[in-house]
Every structure is written in C-alpha cells, then in structure tokens.
C-alpha cells in the first residue's frame, strides 16, 4: 500500500521496542467478542489508473454545463473560474494544513482568512465577518439562532421567497428550541408583502429573514423592511444565495441589515453537485460576541511584528461547551480562500463588471422569453440573474422536452411548492453567450407540447 511506509522489518523492530510480539497484542483491550471476525466486504484495492478509469465512467453519466446548455441556478451557480484559483489552491501548504491553532506556523491561512473577512465586510457593508461556515443554508439557521440570542426573543418571520432549502434548514435547527417560525407571503411584485410583514411584526419578533436577491431572483427593497423590523425591536437578516449580485446592488449594510449571511460558491468554486461551497456570515460589530464560528484577528508578536490569530474563542464550543454560541467547530477554510482569490482577482472593477453582465444577459433572456406566446412573467419587480417564468401547461413536460435537445432549461418550482407546477426558474450568467440564450428561447417556443 503506497500510503503506508512500513516494511516488515520496521514492524518487527517497532513491536520489539513496544515489548509485544504481534500486532494483535496492541488491540488486547478490545474484548474478543467485540471484534470483527471477518474481512470487510469491500472491493479489492484499485491501482491509480483503474481508479481514475472507474471515476471517469461515473463522471460520464453526469450532465454538466460543458456537456449541456444549462440554465440551472437556484443557489448553485455556473460562473467562470479563473485558472489562477486552482493553481493557487493546489499549494498543499494551504490544503494539507489543519485549523490554525499554532499561529507561528499558520500565518498563511490566518492572513488569507483575515483578508476574506475583510472582503466579506466590504461586500456586505457589515463591520465583522466570521471565518466562514458550512454553507448558506446552515449560516441562515445560525443567523436565526444568533438573532434569538441577541434579542432574547423567539419568533422569526421568514419571507416565503427565501430559498426553500434555507427555510427547511432553519426549521431543522430550531425544532427543539421553542422557536416560532412564521412565513411572510410574497406580493405580486415578487417582493415580500410589506403590509403582511407590518401585521406580523411584534414585540416577540427576533428577526425578519429575506433573500437578497430572493429565490425568485427578485431584488427586495431592504430599507423599509429594516425600518419596520427595527421599530419592532427585531433584527433584519438578509440571505444572499447569489453574492455576485452584491457587485452591483447596494450593500445590505447600507440599507439597514443587521446580519448578512449567504453562500459564496459563486466566488470561484465549481457547483460540485451542491458542495462544498462556503457560508459567509457577517454582522454589526455590537453583535460580535454572540456570533457563531471562528474569528481571526490582527495582533503583534513579541517583537512587534504584525501577525494574525484565532480570537474571541470564549464564544466557541471548545471553551464554552454547552453554553457556546454554536456547536460548529470547523469552517470552510479552503473555500473561503478560493473566494478570497476570486474576489481579489476581480477586484473593484471586475466584481461590478461581472455583475453587470449577469444582469444584462438575464434581462435579455427574460424579455425574449416573455415575448413568446404562452409564456408570461408572474413577477414585476426588478431581478438580478434569475427570473420565474409561467407557462401554459406542464413545466416538467416542457423541461423534459428541452433535455432531449441538450438543454437544462431551468428548475421546476413544483420541486419546492407543488402548487407552482406551471412555473420554473431560469438562471443566466456571464457564461451564456447571446447565441446560447437564443437557443433556449427557440427551444421554448411551442411550450410544453
């Protein structure tokens, strides 16, 4: 086995040094009746070439944005990934390191994640960001729990247009904590129903959670939502599943949000069947001590040289145990690093330009589809790079017909809401050429028939 260096002679010498005669002696504390008395029923070991051949044949059974024309989004996005990222992320000093508990030999990770925290603050308009969390959905659940801690209240108002998998994750996390989760309906514009929100907000409300953009691609007006929440003494949590939008949109911080969470997969990571991406989590400075997750801070070494360390650990499980702000231990360090590399490469101009291209191409596609007979747009408010289309007839039949033409035309909303069987969500990014969009429009013509 090429990963295990021991020769038979090594084993013999080591057993002698230990003072036992066989490997089996080392396991003497495991009672005989507790031991497995047969070999594991697993396939025989493969060589490297056999392994890669097997995996290639599995890969060949998957459709991707290279093999098909794909308009799938809904929380996982196909954006261009510059070559620099994979080259740099392959530096094994980064990816084979552990959590930076020994700062003197972890300054690479520590400074890079400090830069990540800064980039996330700049993008979201927040004052503090943690070192990242599992994904956008679990970060959303953590934000809800943090809001409950910070306000000492238990009621959460969730926009019905929040990503449905974020909504489900919040439900899972909250199920035994005495929380009350209430959905706020969507107005005909596709935005949160402001009147309904006003009616629901009260002195029990810990937080209002809205997508920005929301799951339907719609850009919410955050300022009045924040104002209404704050009057009630509640916090505004914004969930950003497509953070490329923040290159163009006003930051949630500027508009009054208190906690901004989201999914950073768009920043240089492949869709990878849904993970790993990176959950980002940012908040107002006054809330920092109730934040979950790791934080990296700047300090000096004993000679006065700048350096970085994990800090404010007294919030965390390894110190506070059952009184910690979360049970989370790891972060998505590697993915946070990829996000940093992506945002650094794009920089101030690139993030705006790529966001502008997404908006422009999606707008072009939306207008062209809306002009087709039998298709309409149910929501009127401005969108970013996704939009909902309503069709006469069955969406699943329509999308299946497109699959036959090599097109993944979108996500049926019936997947999440059975009542929405005639609606689907289309995502257009900078990766789509005009001719790709035209091909989608041409294929859609004729509808489900």
């Amino acid at each position: 086995m090429r990963y295990i260096p021991h020769t038979e002679e090594d084993v013999r010498q080591m057993l002698a040094a230990i003072g036992v005669t066989s490997i089996a002696d080392l396991f003497a504390e495991i009672p005989a009746e507790s031991r497995l008395d047969r070999p594991l029923a697993l396939p025989a070991p493969l060589s490297e070439s056999e392994l890669l051949r097997d995996l290639q044949s599995l890969a060949a059974q998957n459709a991707t944005a290279s093999s098909q024309l794909s308009f799938l989004g809904g929380g996982a996005y196909n954006h261009f990934i510059p070559s620099v990222i994979d080259q740099l992320i392959s530096r094994s000093e980064f990816y084979t390191a552990y959590t930076p508990y020994q700062p003197e030999i972890s300054q690479g990770t520590l400074q890079a994640v400090f830069e990540y925290q800064t980039l996330i603050c700049q993008l979201t308009g927040m004052e503090v960001s943690n070192a990242s969390m599992y994904d956008g959905a679990s970060a959303c659940a953590e934000a809800v729990l943090m809001a409950a801690r910070a306000t000492k209240r238990k009621q959460i108002l969730l926009a019905a247009s929040l990503h449905p998998e974020y909504r489900e994750t919040v439900t899972t996390y909250c199920q035994y904590l005495g929380m009350e989760l209430i959905d706020v309906p969507t107005a005909s514009s596709g935005r949160i129903d402001a009147a309904a929100l006003a009616g629901l907000l009260g002195k029990e409300t810990a937080a209002v959670v809205v997508g920005y953009p929301n799951f339907f691609g719609i850009i919410e007006e955050l300022e009045p939502i924040a104002a209404a929440a704050h009057v009630a003494g509640a916090l505004l949590v914004t969930a950003v599943a497509e953070p490329i939008a923040l290159g163009l949109l006003k930051s949630p911080g500027e508009l009054g949000a208190d906690i901004v969470i989201g999914e950073g997969q768009s920043f240089g990571m492949p869709v990878s069947f849904g993970g790993p991406g990176v959950g980002f989590f940012a908040a107002r400075e006054k809330l920092v001590r109730s934040m979950p997750g790791r934080l990296i801070g700047a300090t000096r070494d004993k000679n006065g040289k700048r350096g970085f360390v994990l800090t404010l650990a007294t919030r965390e499980q390894h110190i506070r145990r059952e009184k910690a702000t979360s049970n989370i231990c790891s972060n998505q360090g590697m993915c946070a690093l990829m996000a940093s590399m992506y945002l650094t490469l794009l920089g101030k101009n690139g993030i705006r330009e790529v966001a502008q291209q997404n908006l422009s191409k999606a707008t072009y596609a939306r207008s062209a589809i809306a002009a087709l007979p039998g298709f309409r747009l149910p929501y009127s408010a401005p969108m970013f790079n996704e939009f909902v289309v309503e069709v006469e007839g069955d969406v699943v039949a329509l999308l299946t017909r497109l699959e036959g033409q090599g097109i993944l035309g979108g996500i049926s909303l019936a997947r999440f809401w059975p009542g929405m069987h005639n609606r689907f969500l289309v995502c257009v990014t900078e990766q789509h050429r005009r001719q790709d969009i035209d091909a989608l429009v041409a294929a859609l013509k004729g509808g489900a028939a």
């Binding site: 991707t64 530096r91 994750t169 059952e322 360090g333 490469l345």
Partner: protein, 489 residues
C-alpha cells in the same frame, strides 16, 4: 537529521496594501447583449475598499502566504484527535474531474446517475466499515453530523412520547458534544471519567435514569483508550430507555477490527477529513456522514440517496425525517475524495491503516514514556496522551509545543482532553515511517533535556519562524477583525 532550520523568508503585505487604481486581474468577454440597468436607488457606486491588483500580484501574494504555513506535506503533524494523515494526490485529481465537479445539484436524476451512484457506493461502504444499517452523507462536518445524530435521537424519543431532558457526556469529550446536545434542547450531565481514563459500566448505571435521553461517548476515547465496557454500557442505556451516540472522530483505530454498530451504538458520525484522508484545508471543508441503527432510519435527514428500478434517486418522501441540515446533499467534492481513498485501500488496506496507526502511537509511547509523564497506563490505540508533570524549570506543555516548531514539527494537540492537566496528545497516523517517528521522538527527548539544561530555549520558542509568539490577549481585548487603513500604519 534535524528537520527544522532557518531559510529565506519572504515578507508580504495585505492584499489591500498592494492595491493601485487601474490594475486588473480578470478578463471577461465583450458584452454581446444590450446593457441593462436597474433603478438607481438599488445600485451601489462601488464596493469600497476592494483591491485593484494584477494577476501577477495575486499569484505572488498567495504563493508567499502559503510559505508561512505548515501542512502534512511539509512534515510530521501529530495533532491528536485530528488524524493528520497523508492526503493522496489522486483524490485531488478525482474531485476535479469535470463530470463530477461540474454537475449541478438540480440536474435531473436521470442525468446525474454518476454522482448519485458514487454517493450510494460511499454510503454503502461506510455502513459496512461501521456496522450501521444506514448512512446519510448530508452533514458538512463532524459537529454537523453530531447535530444530525442527536436530532434523530430526540425525534425517536418524541415519537414515543418520551419527555426525557438529559444527555450524559463524559468529561473527556470534544466540546462539540455538549454544544450539540444543547442545540437539541437537552441539558448536559457531565460524567467524571475516573482514574483509569475509561468509562465503567457501573458509572454509567449510576447516572442512568428515566430522564436520560442519551449517552454521548467517543470510542476510542480522547485519551486514545478503547472503552472496553462499551457493550455493557450500551445495554445499560438501552435497558434504561435511552440511546447511545458515538463521536467517530477516532475511527482510524478500528477499521476492519471492530465496528461501532456491532457494539450497540445507535448513531455515529464519521469524519471523512480524518479517517478517510480528505484534506483538512486549513480548517475545512470537512464532511460528517452519520451511520444509524435500524431504529433510527425513519428519522434520517432528507433527501436520502436510494437505489431503485431506474437506477439511483433522491428520496424526499420521508415523513418522520428530522429535515435537512443544509442545502443540497452534502459536501460532494469531499465524498469523491473519500470514495477514491476507499477504492484505493480496499478492505484489507483500511485494516492495515488502523493497525499501523496503532503501532505508530504505541511506538512513540514506548520511546517517550521513560521521560514524559503518562497519566493513563491502559494500552493505547491510535493516540497517546502525555503531560508536562515531569518537566522542570517552569517549562510547560505550551513551551514544549513551541519548541517543537523550532525542530521542524507541527506540535501535538495541547491542553486537551481537559481531564489531563497540561495534556500533550500525540496522534501519528499510519502514513508516517519509523524514521520520521524516531526523528520526532529524538526531538521530544532533546527538548526534555533542554528543559533541564537551558529552559530559556523553550520559553523563547519558536525563534526561527517568521513571527514569534503572538499577543493573543491583545487580539481578544481590542478585536481587529477587518482591515482598515487607519489600524495598519
């Protein structure tokens, strides 16, 4: 040969300090549709503070930062309870295969059979390795897996109408265990592990009552000892109406040797980033699948990957499920790496890995026990816990750890488990050779001698790193968590 030495060290600024207006590090095709605009009240003028740098600036920046890190590929990394084994390179190639990395999670099932089939294969293999009836791959890390497992245990109790409030947790446990129990709405009852370091059936029996929902154990425990009473302990908890959760962080000692599911455990998480050789990534991403006994299958998170007449599919129709713990299906890219590892090792290779991991830990123990204090004397499995009780001249565990850096090693886990004062927790893993272990042990013994003869060497360490000991107190007292030019003159 002494591994640690000093060499050329490159300084590097923060990326923001490199920024110069007008530089760019990206390219985009010309826009081929009309420019769309949004209402001006929705749009920002710029992202304030974002850097403007060239591609070369970025490449050099991150390359230099990488040289300030120490990884498994740099050298020996005996971090206890973290299983810092070698991360095979073919696994990195595997995770980057375009048909795997590029598959969107909402691709129709008929067009994602490869991804679903891989997940099915992995969950089936993990069930065989652990002896559980079913495995979910959804949790993103070990603590996330604990949450899944404990929520399932709570759901099982709720379904029976049980109003139990308490979870028993030995004081040797990882901090995630009590934090997870609290997140499931339970009160934590700590159990003192006692002098032997092993939990006895009598101790558990004395804590077991009608209010106890579960016991959370780690096996082998964080002292590196097998909980030899585990079968009796599971019987006691089950007879009392509770369930047993196992923290699987230390599974690297048991593959092919004993299976937690066969011992009576009801749920256990795996750490693919420990036992199954996926990289730790400087803190993640991990992956924390959970295996469960038959009785917990209805409560598994949804969706589950299933095999049916059409091939592989996702089962969302699970009315008793605890729900979903995150978006999509888990950290698939990590699953690919773990699957590649299992296929490479085979059943025999995994058993050999556990055997050699245990051999290595016991070899280190044999070489260091004459000099370093060993508080618990039971036979060690995959790791061994010493402490600083034998050290003189105000030299402590932290000083040994920092001095090891000067010798060219990543320090062991220190001050954990909490029950050992000044713990030095060493887990070598199976991928280290006898030569490496000897060099490391020589360094440990040299440091012990230095503590007698020249303790200042320990107190001043590390001295050959780019930065020396950092002021963590100042970092926490006045947190600076975000770059601001005014703070960095």
């Amino acid at each position: 040969m002494r591994v640690g030495t000093s060499g050329l060290q490159l300084n590097e600024k923060l990326i923001f300090e490199h920024s110069d207006p007008g530089r760019r590090g990206y390219s985009l095709p010309a826009l081929d549709v009309r420019v769309a605009t949004l209402p001006p009240e929705l749009v920002r003028t710029e992202v304030p503070g974002f850097p403007e740098v060239s591609e070369v600036d970025v490449v050099r920046h991150f390359t230099r930062l990488s040289t300030w890190n120490y990884g498994v590929d740099s050298g020996f990394y005996p971090l206890g309870s973290c299983t810092m084994k070698y991360n095979p390179k073919v696994n990195e190639t595997a995770a980057r295969i375009p048909g795997l990395a590029g598959c969107h999670p909402y691709t129709p099932e008929t067009l994602s059979q490869g991804a679903l089939g891989l997940m099915y294969g992995l969950q089936t293999a993990l069930a065989e390795i652990s002896g559980f009836s079913a495995v979910t791959l959804q949790p993103a890390a070990g603590a996330h897996g604990e949450l899944a497992g404990m929520l399932m245990i709570r759901a099982w109790h709720e379904a029976k109408g049980n109003k139990r409030r308490k979870v028993l947790i030995p004081d040797t446990a990882h901090g995630t265990n009590p934090a997870t129990a609290a997140l499931c709405g339970y009160d934590v009852v700590p159990i003192a592990s006692g002098g032997s370091g092993v939990l006895t059936a009598e101790t558990v029996a004395s804590f077991m009552n009608d209010d106890v929902a579960a016991l959370m154990v780690t096996n082998p425990n964080t002292l590196g000892l097998f909980e030899s009473d585990i079968v009796k302990i599971c019987d006691i908890v089950h007879a009392g109406g509770g369930l047993v959760y196992c923290d699987g962080a230390n599974l690297n000692a048991l593959m092919g040797i004993a299976r937690p599911g066969d011992l009576g455990i009801d749920a256990m998480h795996f750490n693919l980033h420990k036992t199954f050789a996926t990289p730790h990534g400087g803190g993640g991403p991990g992956s924390g699948p959970v295996g469960v006994a038959e009785k917990l299958i209805p409560y598994l998170p949804k969706p589950m990957v299933v095999k049916n007449d059409q091939g592989y599919g996702l089962d969302f129709d699970r009315p008793q499920s605890i729900g979903r713990l995150r978006s999509f299906y888990g950290n698939f890219g990590i699953m690919v790496r773990a699957w590649a590892y299992i296929l490479t090792m085979g059943g025999s290779g995994l058993k050999q890995a556990s055997e050699m991991a245990v051999l290595n830990a016991n070899y280190i123990r044999a070489r260091l026990e004459p000099v370093y204090n060993l508080p618990h004397k039971h036979r060690s499995l995959h790791e061994v816990v010493f402490n600083d009780a034998n050290l003189a001249n105000d030299c402590h565990t932290l000083d040994v750890a920092k001095r090891l850096i000067d010798y060219g090693y990543h320090p062991p886990t220190i001050y954990f488990p909490l029950v050992v004062k000044g713990a030095i927790m060493i887990e070598p893993t199976e991928t280290e050779s006898m030569e490496t272990l000897d060099e490391f042990c020589d360094a440990m013994l040299a440091i012990a001698r230095e503590s007698q003869e020249n303790p200042d060497l320990l107190h001043a360490a590390p001295t050959i790193t780019r930065v020396q000991r950092l002021d963590e107190t100042a970092a926490a007292r006045q947190p600076c968590l975000c770059w601001n030019p005014a703070d960095f003159v």
